[in-house]
Symmetry: C2
């Protein structure tokens, strides 16, 4: 058996000179390959990976009635999250949360509420429609995750998580 690796994958003639370079390209290629499937899934609900991510963050910080799955509190009371906090929590930094929220608001998946205490701040809150959209995606998303990683053992997934975390934290 010949060892298959990135070099053959991309039709590179010579082996990689530096394992660091190979790791980087491997990372980009794998991330892109897996992301394509999710992009396609999200697009069936007119969402991008970024807008889905933002919605997930907002759901995680909404006051939801666990039984009914509805939002607790009125538009004015139960504030959501300030724009800049959304930006900080996104998996991939988005340098334009304003327009990301614009599009979500356009689709009535979120709503904006100006903060009265600090009038610079705008709270963003997920709507019932946003919750429903996410709910309809929950199962397909988990299933796609499982499908993509079905051939990886639990130990491998754990090790991959550890190495990926370490890779982006040089200081620790």
């Amino acid at each position: 058996m010949t060892t298959r690796n990135l070099q053959h994958d991309i039709g590179k003639k010579k082996p990689f000179e530096h394992a660091e370079e190979e790791a980087y390209l491997n990372l980009i290629r794998t991330a892109a390959a897996l992301a394509v499937d999710f992009e396609r899934l999200f697009r069936t609900h007119d969402l991008s990976e970024a807008s889905y991510n933002a919605l997930r963050i907002l759901r995680g910080h909404a006051h939801v009635n666990p039984k009914a799955g509805t939002i607790v509190g009125s538009k004015a009371s139960g504030h959501g999250l300030p724009c800049h906090q959304i930006g900080e929590m996104m998996v991939a930094r988005v340098p334009d949360v304003t327009r990301l929220v614009d599009r979500l608001e356009e689709a009535a998946l979120v709503e904006r509420v100006r903060c009265e205490k600090d009038r610079r701040v705008v709270y963003v809150r997920i709507t019932e429609k946003g919750l429903k959209t996410l709910a309809s995606l929950d199962k397909p998303v988990i299933e796609l995750h499982k499908q993509q990683m079905s051939h990886m053992t639990a130990r491998e997934l754990g090790e991959l998580n550890r190495l990926l975390y370490k890779a982006r934290h040089p200081e620790q």
Copy 2:
């Protein structure tokens, strides 16, 4: 010591229920974090990650005089690579090689030659200017790779490469 992981990284309140989901988000986040540095580096030479990648592919398939670093063969003879092959070899699939090449040609980093045998095909060839641009990036790129991965052991890099490769090849 508390174990730092993705959950704390993105300010998630609950731990991940599925290791598959965590691995995916870890992957996207790490790839984005590392890519940002390269995007910035490439942009100092008016290149994107995609156009740099295409240039690297074209250099790998050019007939270069190893001593002088110049291109062997005239524009008409030493053909480069057909557009669709470039697309196949990119680390991240680009569904529009034409305009990627358009921009590179605009910047005089590549040139196009229509294939005489099969007139559908257009060969793309890196120019001397393209080679020079790449050459000036070679050292900074390698150094950035090393810097980003300086805290990873050789064993960890090898394991990361193995796991990433496996992650995107469910069939094997």
